[in-house]
């Protein structure tokens, strides 16, 4: 959300030149350098073809009786109003998947914000081993989910290393096949996998917190903990809003992890995500209209959550 807001400014800064007129003979219909449009044309075509048109199409599909037909075949796809939404949400599996992603976000988002900020603050002050620490923190983020899922399957299997270490404390049934633990384990996995990216964002934000604030806090007798809460936390608030937004969107996009870690959202759909259900319904069972309806609701929910986050965590002025 911040991205869009800050993005608006340069756009407006571009227009005064046109209003002023400038050297008249130079400013044509397409601006002073029409070549800019030519340079951007491939990208604009790409955005229209791969984002704008499919986006409109997604809404269209959700409100019509849509099914897969042979290419070129003329078929009737009548407008059905909210029928697809009703059909989607009278399925308990769909409701459950939304609940699951809710559990996921409740664990993943706060954990991500706290751990990323604490580790970034510590990393920001360290001098020795800085390169090594940076590499080790970012490595899970740059590695394919499919690859690290393999290790987690090994680590969290019934007789895996984690349970060996826990001994009698190991949950039974084990992590990934337990209805209680499957979703939290996935949430922890994604937190671990993505944390490097958020540490990176916080490290960037920490460079913009004025050092004088720390000095005056220290003069006022504030300790390290006190200045963390009264200088660092408010100082990186814009980054926190961004981390909340990105981690929420990433969480709502959850697919690979339940597909592979828990064998397609098991046990009994306890870890099925909405995107997994969209894949199953839309592409495996041939109901793209119902899948699109789920997608539309999911995106609307994400927008509402993002709005609330921006409202409550964003700047107050």
């Amino acid at each position: 959300m911040t991205a869009i807001r800050t993005g608006g400014r340069p756009a407006r800064a571009g227009t005064p030149g046109k209003k002023r007129g400038g050297p008249r003979r130079k400013v044509g219909l397409l601006g002073r350098n029409p070549l800019g449009l030519l340079f951007s044309a491939p990208y604009l075509v790409f955005v229209l073809l791969v984002f704008a048109y499919p986006l409109v199409y997604a809404f269209w599909i959700a409100f019509h009786d849509f099914f897969f037909a042979a290419p070129g075949a003329q078929v009737d796809r009548p407008f059905v109003g909210l029928d697809n939404f009703v059909a989607a949400f009278s399925d308990p599996a769909v409701i459950r998947s939304f609940g699951n992603v809710g559990i996921f976000l409740l664990i993943n988002v706060p954990l991500t914000v706290v751990l990323a900020l604490v580790l970034a603050t510590a990393l920001n002050k360290v001098v020795r081993f800085r390169g090594f620490l940076r590499v080790s923190y970012y490595v899970p983020y740059v590695t394919a989910s499919v690859a690290v899922v393999g290790v987690w399957l090994f680590l969290f299997s019934g007789s895996g290393l984690v349970n060996q270490l826990l001994g009698p404390l190991a949950p039974d049934p084990s992590w990934l096949i337990s209805e209680t633990w499957a979703m939290p384990t996935i949430a922890i996995f994604v937190t671990w996998k993505q944390l490097g990216f958020y540490i990176l964002l916080y490290l960037a934000a920490l460079q913009n917190v004025p050092k004088e604030l720390y000095e005056s806090a220290s003069t006022d007798g504030a300790g390290a903990i006190r200045s963390f809460f009264s200088v660092t936390v408010p100082g990186v608030r814009p980054a926190t809003v961004l981390v909340l937004l990105v981690s929420t969107v990433t969480g709502a996009n959850l697919f690979t992890e339940p597909y592979l870690l828990t064998g397609g959202g098991g046990p009994n759909g306890a870890s099925a995500s909405p995107v997994l259900i969209m894949y199953q319904k839309g592409l495996q069972q041939g109901q793209p209209d119902i899948a699109s309806a789920i997608g539309v609701v999911l995106v609307l929910l994400v927008l509402i959550i993002a709005f609330l986050q921006n409202r409550f965590a964003g700047e107050r002025d």
Binding site: P54, V151, F154
Partner: protein
């Protein structure tokens, strides 16, 4: 901010911290060390596990045991999913995206930063907006369009198309080109240089270190991507390694002799190129670059 000044600030911070108690420094070291262990251990365990003749999930199994070491798992996974084909397909997918992003993304980034033209603001807003459109909403219509209407399933073009130009890279390019002084370009323009010549001879050489960040960011997208190539490729001969390995995990592993060993061997092959590339270029991979791009 440059790396050097970042380091200078760190040093300044540490100097002012000399007042800080020794206990706090130790605590920080412990937190960071534990963090590094948690982040790195699964990778170490991936390599160890991929070399075990028999999977050993006990604590002792976390240490290399010469009696239990083998390369058989790499042979086993290669027999089932053909690692080489997977690597080549991942490479083609990634190279296509890199090509599109470096050519067309850079042109757009340059136009957004250095040229005045009508529609510039809208284009920049689009580049930001595209990044917040969640893929899950586009999954169904893109599949209908690309696989059904255009008949591009099991085809590299269909695989590459939705990722062809990375919008985050466009924004990063714009950010870099924006930092170059306008006068430089005005002077060359008066001398009669074409815009393409300006981009090629002046702008690109000046932002060369920054290109590495963009290449790395663009590289990890398609190389690691699972959902889209999984939807669009059913033919095993065209599947990127992430897809064929995932298929092995979800379908074949249950019937294999040492499923964990073979899975981990495949995971090592999938992860190694990115991890090696990242370690090589990490000193150019500077936090502020990414931060500025994401914030616009």
């Amino acid at each position: 901010m440059s790396r050097k000044s970042e380091r200078r600030m760190t040093r300044a911070a540490t100097l002012s911290d000399t007042k800080m108690s020794r206990g706090q420094t130790v605590l920080r070291g412990v937190v960071l060390g534990l963090g590094a262990l948690v982040f790195l251990f699964p990778f170490y365990y991936m390599v160890i596990g991929s070399l075990q003749t028999k999977p050993d999930p006990t604590v002792a199994g976390a240490f290399p045991n010469p009696a239990n070491l083998t390369f058989d798992n790499y042979v086993a996974i290669d027999e089932r999913i053909n690692l080489w084909t997977g690597l080549v397909n991942s490479g083609i997918f990634t190279a296509g995206v890199l090509l599109g992003t470096l050519v067309f993304g850079m042109l757009a980034g340059y136009a957004l930063a250095q040229l005045q033209w009508r529609g510039r603001g809208v284009t920049f807003a689009l580049a930001l907006l595209v990044q917040v459109v969640p893929f899950q909403l586009l999954m169904i219509p893109l599949y209908v369009l690309i696989a059904r209407d255009y008949g591009l399933s099991d085809n590299y073009v269909g695989m590459i198309l939705p990722y062809f130009i990375n919008s985050a890279a466009v924004v990063i390019f714009r950010q870099y080109f924006l930092q170059l002084p306008k006068e430089l370009f005005e002077a060359a323009r008066i001398d009669g240089a074409s815009e393409l010549a300006l981009l090629w001879r002046i702008a690109i050489p000046l932002v060369r270190p920054a290109l590495i960040t963009v290449v790395l960011l663009t590289f990890i997208g398609p190389w690691n991507e699972f959902l889209w190539p999984f939807l669009i490729t059913k033919d095993a001969a065209l599947q990127p390694l992430a897809v064929s390995l995932a298929n092995y995990i979800s379908n074949v592993a249950a019937s294999a002799a040492n499923p964990f060993g073979a899975t981990l061997a495949g995971a090592v092959v999938l992860a190694a190129p990115v991890v090696v590339l990242f370690i090589i270029v990490q000193r150019y991979f500077i936090s502020t670059d990414i931060g500025s791009s994401v914030k616009g």
